[in-house]
């Protein structure tokens, strides 16, 4: 039977036996990747710069935003998500959504608990915590540690 031979030839002819099913993709990849690397390096510098300033509660937020921009650049261009079939991006986004669920539900719990204040006026549990001593030190102990000049506050 010659049917399957023709089908195979057609398949090969259509894709030139190559794995690139579609012709679209970055026009000049090397230039694009170099541009993205430059942006990433600039953003890294920005991250370090921003960390010099204190924005209070927004510190983590600022750092995370810049990190997310960098991660997005890597994902979209270095990992080809922009030009790939959509399924790959859906997989990535799904993982991030579920991670977000885990994080947000945990914090929903921890931020809405209340401190148990003992009725006899004692301090809340854990507030006068002293780290247990003598838990063991490996490798003969720390070499560069100077004993504290005065007791810590």
């Amino acid at each position: 039977m010659s049917d399957h031979t023709t089908i195979l030839e057609n398949t090969q002819a259509a894709g030139h036996g190559s794995e690139e099913a579609h012709a679209h993709g970055p026009r000049n990849p090397v230039r694009l990747y170099t541009l993205i690397l430059t942006c990433l390096l600039i953003l890294t510098g920005l991250t370090v710069l921003v960390a010099q300033f204190d924005f209070g509660d927004w510190n983590v937020f600022a750092a995370m935003i810049i990190a997310t921009i960098k991660a997005s650049l890597v994902a979209l261009f270095f990992m080809h998500l922009l030009h790939d079939k959509g399924m790959n991006a859906i997989i990535l986004c799904t993982a991030l959504v579920f991670l977000g669920l885990f994080l947000s539900f945990d914090f929903m719990d921890s931020t809405t608990r209340f401190e148990i204040t003992p009725a006899n006026g004692a301090a809340p549990a854990g507030s006068d915590f002293h780290r247990p001593k003598n838990l063991g030190v490996p490798f003969g102990g720390a070499k560069n540690v100077k004993p504290p000049a005065e007791a810590p506050k």
Binding site: M87, F105, M108, S110, T111, T112, R113, A125, G126, P132
Partner: protein, 549 residues
């Protein structure tokens, strides 16, 4: 329509030893190094049955020890308290991680899924084999834990006890950590297979509902199991290094461990039940000779259970120390997750309604599933109500609930699927009369074992307790006798299934008249599944209603 694609079996001719995946290639190495999904499925099947036996023996030991508050039965003293703690822990760990989670997906799913899709194999056959060996590596470490003294924390490994007890927690944690990757890779394989290897003409809504169930299960395996991995890693490192994340004396939070643990372990219970539902969705239409009612609703409900199942884990922690806000949110979401499961039950019943029902063993198990899962699922909703859970948590009510869904649900469905596909897998028919007797024994024994436990739990009998008040003795004794009846049914099943293997191939290619693709090829199948690439020309449940055609 050309259903039969391979050489048909003609009734009345002598059974012929046809070339199939069992007969060639030959040799032990050809099995150990196989990438054939069917052979890998068989190896998983043997493995999970072995662990079911071990876990079952532990269960029998537990029930023997609880027959009487004196822990004596027939003049023999059973387990002492320390050993008892270890035995119920081992029972849980082995059953959950080494039996139930891999049972339907890795054993039956591996065998049947590619054939149902009209494919020659799963997407990544070598990864499939790797999954099997990873599973055994994890199991080996778990066995090291057992022989080096066992674990007594309960399968839930709650801190701070698990991070301070002197038993072999680290070995067990590492064993489960590794076995988890087996589950992840199986899920990964199935997702890719279902996306990319469906036969020509088979769209998403033309594939059998078993495949939808496997897809939903695989989603959960891929998304949830990694969190188990990091949980076990953190728990082990906490044991070794006292890093202070879960231990309150170091400033950590034991409730955080429970968040980590249950973020996986709740989807895990859906990983256990959804494949069972998937099997029931296959059996009911075939044995009712009627197309499934509400195909899309069942398909979407599988996905719905998978997704919503990620949002309810806090219902295992209602009294653990979460905030009021959290418990209310989790309770509400728990009520929601019951809905897709209920949808399936209604659809199965609607399928059976006015169908032409035949009560062979697979159908007996499927009907048992509907009854037992209904009880198990509804009692889950009771537990999801905060006010009830305060009284029922950590009692035998919970034990009964999860055994109804895991055993009355998943194990019963597994047995149903095993019987349904036995002719396809082995080419032999099992003894139908014995099958029906065993199914009845399992059903009766199961209810005898676990229904009293609902009552005991409601009356306050705590779970995992070695000692109990004399008022509970009659129900404990009844439950123990029930466990013997289950044992009898299961050993009978093992017996007649093994006995069937000694016969020559006597099973027709399609003994049940199923319409899905695995039935359109020979029993047992060829190594390459199909002689010619099948094309989907009709739906998976195209039975004609009674009275037409």
């Amino acid at each position: 329509m050309a259903d039969v694609i391979s050489a048909p079996f003609h009734a009345g001719t002598t059974p012929v030893e046809r070339r199939n995946y069992l007969t060639e290639p030959k040799g032990l190495w050809s099995w150990l190094a196989t990438v054939d999904h069917k052979r890998i499925g068989i190896m998983y099947l043997i493995s999970v049955m072995a662990f079911f036996l071990v876990g079952g023996i532990f269960a029998l030991l537990i029930r023997l020890s609880l027959f009487d508050p004196s822990h004596m039965i027939f003049g023999h003293k059973m387990l002492d308290a320390e050993t008892y703690n270890k035995v119920f822990t081992m029972h849980g760990v082995i059953m959950v991680f080494l039996f139930i989670i891999p049972s339907i997906p890795a054993a039956l799913g591996n065998f049947v899924l590619p054939m149902m899709l009209g494919a020659k194999d799963v997407a990544f056959p070598r990864l499939n084999l790797a999954s099997f060996y990873i599973y055994w590596t994890g199991a080996a470490l778990a066995m090291v834990a057992i022989v080096t003294g066992g674990v007594d924390t309960g399968w839930t490994f709650y801190t701070p006890y698990s991070t301070s007890t002197q038993t072999s927690v680290a070995w067990m944690a590492m064993g489960i950590f590794i076995a988890g990757f087996s589950s992840i890779f199986t899920g990964l394989n199935f997702i890719a297979t279902i996306h990319k290897l469906r036969a020509p003409g088979m769209g998403w809504f033309d594939m059998p509902l078993f495949c939808w169930g496997m897809y939903a299960t695989a989603l959960m395996q891929v998304l949830a199991t990694p969190v188990l991995a990091i949980t076990l890693l953190l728990m082990t490192i906490e044991r070794l290094f006292r890093i202070g994340i879960f231990d309150a004396s170091l400033g950590g939070d034991p409730v955080l461990f429970q968040h980590f643990f249950w973020f996986y372990s709740h989807p895990a219970v859906y990983i256990m039940i959804v494949p069972g539902m998937a099997i029931v969705s296959e059996i009911i239409p075939v044995f009712s000779r009627k197309t499934i009612f509400g195909y899309r609703m069942i398909a979407f409900s599988s996905i719905g259970i998978a997704l919503i199942g990620f949002l309810v884990w806090g219902h295992h922690m209602f009294v653990a120390g979460q905030s009021q806000t959290a418990v209310v949110v989790f309770s509400f979401l728990t009520f929601i997750v019951a809905i897709p499961s209920a949808i399936k039950v209604w659809n199965w019943l609607a399928t059976m309604y006015h169908g032409s029902i035949s009560l062979e063993t697979p159908m007996l198990y499927a009907i048992s599933f509907i009854l037992l899962f209904a009880i198990g699922g509804l009692t889950g909703v009771f537990l999801g109500a905060l006010s009830l859970d305060v009284h029922l948590t950590d009692t035998y009510f919970v034990v009964a609930h999860f055994h109804y869904v895991m055993m009355g649900g998943t194990v019963v469905a597994f047995l149903g699927g095993l019987h349904y596909w036995w002719p396809k897998i082995t080419g032999r028919m099992y003894n139908e009369r014995l099958g029906q007797i065993a199914a009845a024994l399992v059903f009766i024994g199961f209810n005898a074992t676990f229904f009293p436990q609902f009552i005991m739990g409601g009356q306050g009998m705590p779970r995992r307790y070695y000692n109990y008040l004399p008022q509970f003795q009659p129900m404990h004794a009844f439950s123990t006798v029930g466990s013997w009846i289950i044992g009898a049914g299961l050993f009978l099943t093992l017996g007649y299934l093994l006995a069937s293997l000694r016969k020559p191939y006597d099973a027709p290619d399609n003994p049940w008249g199923g319409k899905t693709m695995e039935w359109q090829t020979q029993s047992p199948p060829l190594t390459e599944n199909f002689e010619v690439q099948p094309v989907a020309t009709h739906g998976p449940y195209d039975f004609f209603p009674v009275g037409t055609h």
